[in-house]
């Protein structure tokens, strides 16, 4: 791999140098983006913001891509040697060329060598992706082929080694991933189907990981006896497969995927040999002014990593992805109670109804009222220990447990009952949003710190006033009423924007209901941003509460911090 690296770099530099002179011409096109996200840290013992020795930390990256006809070459350099403390906590620290590839594509075939991202279906078997905010980048270093032999048929093959933060010693790795995916879209193949409003596609994928097994493992059994899980009893090749269906007719849509994983004893599942499975079914119907969607999800023992020793507390080396189907909120006070998808054990439902009180009606007024009602409930899966696990008093080195497919476990993980109203009035210059949510959140299981079940009532009100075509003012007030965890919170935000260049805001989160009076803290934040063309420069000063950050059901912890932040992003 080390030999490939300088060759790719040299090739890329050559094409970049040659093309820079011609810019956007027959010689090709260069694009990219640059980002700097830095912070000056101030210690604050009340909120638990620790002293940072270097005072200033920053994440910096540069992406460069060169395209010419069907050919693309790209690279990314990341400088995270002194990263923001969030990223240091998750081990995302270092610097180097983290992304580099050569890609050729025509109507029939696409081939990629180097690092690449890929997803099969919903990601149940494979999702190599990047989320810069979460500090996730599990790109594969290897090769990929996509073939489209006929319209509506897509075949993909991948093999490679997953990125592990800034560990570039790929030659020392004893693990890699390989996979196949096929999708047949009948509605693309048969024109009459789509003409009549039908959507129909089926797909399947197969992903296998190899990891050398060379060490025995030891398990303490009852009466201080030692059990040995010998290296030859630890599988080196572990496979998952999945099948999916997507059907639609006019306003109706049905999507489903089922996945199965064979014995995969690893650190996240206490080294049990039980097979894993996951199932997602989503049905929706929409018509003018009305929509309804319902989802069912079950995933059991589906945490699938390139290395079996990786802890469940990190997203490192995840091969697959089990999505969270609950509604994702951006409400400030609910951020710390966002549901994190549980690949190793969750079963639940999500339902949502959208209705628009018609324009011109007595209740709807001139512009109508949008109403969204939502319900979500997730439990752990039912677990009945197998006799060996019962006898040993622990599951390690056994088949673990049995679980009926549709049975809900005893532990409620998360529940959300919510309703939202949105209404414009006075020539659409005013917009009012109101929302109420009742959240039940299992802190013990979802965040790993033993606590009573959190129950919170969140009320949100937002008014946006468009003063004129350029100037707008937004006011948000949120209130979270709770007795558990940190108790009740109040949040206010005032934002003034002068389009298209300036945004200024002042916000405060006040933990007025904290049982400990000393922690009834104000987490204030003053921010300003300037945007010109594709460049954005923003400054913010304030405090951040210790908690979690979740995107799409994947979460990471966020340490408490206080200080001055500067972010610069630009693309070209």
């Amino acid at each position: 791999m080390r030999r490939i690296f300088p060759i790719l770099t040299a090739l890329l530099i050559t094409v970049l140098c040659s093309s820079t002179a011609w810019g956007q011409s027959k010689w090709g096109h260069i694009s990219g983006d640059f980002g700097f996200n830095g912070m000056y840290y101030i210690p604050d013992s009340i909120i638990g913001a620790k002293e940072v020795k270097e005072k200033v930390r920053a994440n910096t990256w540069l992406n460069l891509n060169y395209t010419n006809s069907g050919f693309t070459a790209g690279l990314r350099y990341e400088f995270y040697s002194f990263p923001l403390i969030d990223f240091e906590d998750i081990g995302y620290k270092g610097q180097g060329l983290t992304h580099y590839f050569l890609d050729y594509k025509n109507d029939f075939i696409q081939v990629t060598a180097g690092t690449f991202y890929e997803q099969f279906g919903n990601g149940f078997t494979l999702r190599a992706y990047e989320d810069r905010q979460l500090g996730i980048d599990n790109s594969l270093l290897g090769a990929r082929i996509k073939v489209t032999p006929y319209k509506g048929i897509t075949l993909k093959g991948v093999w490679g080694i997953e990125r592990k933060n800034f560990d570039f010693e790929y030659t020392k790795r004893h693990d890699y991933v390989r996979g196949l995916d096929a999708e047949l879209s009948f509605s693309d193949m048969i024109g009459k189907l789509s003409e009549k409003g039908f959507v129909l596609s089926v797909g399947g994928s197969f992903v296998s990981k190899y990891e050398k097994s060379e060490k025995d493992m030891y398990i303490t059994l009852p009466d201080n006896q030692t059990g040995i899980l010998s290296a030859d009893k630890i599988p080196q090749n572990i496979a998952t497969w999945a099948a999916r269906l997507n059907f639609g007719y006019k306003g109706f849509r049905l999507e489903s995927e089922f996945a199965h994983k064979i014995n995969d004893p690893n650190n996240t599942n206490s080294y049990i040999y039980k097979n894993g499975n996951s199932f997602l079914l989503t049905a929706s119907y929409s018509m003018k002014g009305f929509g309804v969607e319902a989802s069912f999800i079950r995933s059991d023992n589906m945490d699938f990593r390139s290395q079996r020793d990786i802890s469940a507390s990190t997203s490192l080396l995840s091969i697959n992805y089990i999505p969270a189907v609950n509604r994702q909120y951006t409400y400030a006070l609910l951020a710390n109670y966002t549901y994190a998808s549980q690949p190793n054990g969750q079963i639940g439902v999500q339902a949502q109804v959208n209705y628009k009180i018609p324009k011109g009606s007595k209740l709807g007024g001139k512009y109508g009222i949008d109403i969204t009602a939502n319900y979500a409930r997730f439990h752990n899966v039912e677990q009945k220990l197998v006799p060996d696990a019962e006898a040993n008093g622990l599951m390690n080195g056994t088949d673990g447990y049995t679980s009926r497919f549709f049975a809900f476990g005893n532990d409620l993980l998360y529940q959300d009952i919510g309703i939202e109203f949105s209404h414009r009035f006075n020539n659409k210059n005013w917009k009012l949003d109101l929302a109420y949510n009742f959240i039940t959140y299992n802190l013990t299981i979802l965040q790993g710190h033993p606590s009573p079940m959190f129950k919170g009532h969140n009320v949100m009100g937002k008014v946006t006033y468009k003063i004129n075509t350029k100037h707008a003012l937004k006011l948000e007030v949120h209130h979270l009423y709770a007795k558990e965890d940190d108790g009740s919170w109040l949040y206010g935000l005032l934002e003034y924007s002068i389009a298209p260049h300036w945004f200024i805001s002042v916000a405060d989160q006040w933990n007025y209901g904290n049982a400990d009076k000393i922690h009834r803290t104000h987490y204030y934040n003053i921010a300003a941003a300037f945007v010109i063309k594709t460049t954005r420069i923003s400054l913010n000063f304030g405090k951040t509460k210790e908690g979690i950050l979740c995107i799409g059901g994947v979460c990471r912890s966020v340490p408490a911090s206080y200080g001055l932040g500067l972010t610069v992003t630009t693309s070209f």
Partner: protein, 281 residues
Amino acid sequence: MKKINLIVTLAILLCAFVSCDKIEGPYITPDESVETNVEFPDIDPATVFRKVLIEEYTGHRCTNCPDGHRELASLHERYGDSLVAIGIHAGSFAMTSGIFSTDFRTEEGNTLYEDFTINQIGTPAAVVNRKQHGNVYPLSIPAWQPAIEEELTHDCVAAVQLINVFDASSQKLTAHTKTTRLNGDTSDLQIALYIIEDGIVAPQKDGEETIPEYVHNHVLRGSLNGVYGTQLTTPEEDGTYLKSYELDCSAKSWNFSNCSVVAILMDAETHEVLQVEQAKF
């Protein structure tokens, strides 16, 4: 048609890479250690010193290997009890052929030969304390002494006591060990018990010559608890670890009076040797 052929070829190639291992239970095998029923004398940590393990890879058809044997004898004279040697016959020069009919090879030796990439330099070679010296495991003869010198400078992190009980009538060996951590060491520990035999008379190539009655010393004969041994998971009340293993030697053709047990204490994660002890049957 060309497209279909290409797709089929690609699919076959990709399928070749994709596989899975279905493991059948039971998964856990019990640790076959036996009760430790001997009394170990108290140790004075101040008197415990670090010993170094040298594993010499050799073969009876290897013309240069006697140079290694002579070097090892010289090192033994120099370092005395501080050095414990194991002679591992493995690789192509250890195969039997013609008058070289004695098969000195063992499963353990073959595994170690692979794991420590001895074929990088071939025999004669040695690995000192199962650590890389100069970024490689196998060392050629001139590098043996500097590696031993380097290892002797390291702190002693544990003491290993070894008592063998050999029942001559049943020819059953029981090796008892006691491990005591020193200097606050907290690494996960693993102990392996090997059997070696001295004074085996059998042919050996030596340069251009073949010596029919060559004396082979410290030859690896096997192990009591596998190539990398057993992890020390459950400490006694005083923080020490006791481990004992039995071996039925009745079917072995060894000269028991020339046999010893070597107890190798290593870091469970890296397999780096931390201490080593040797005792006769």
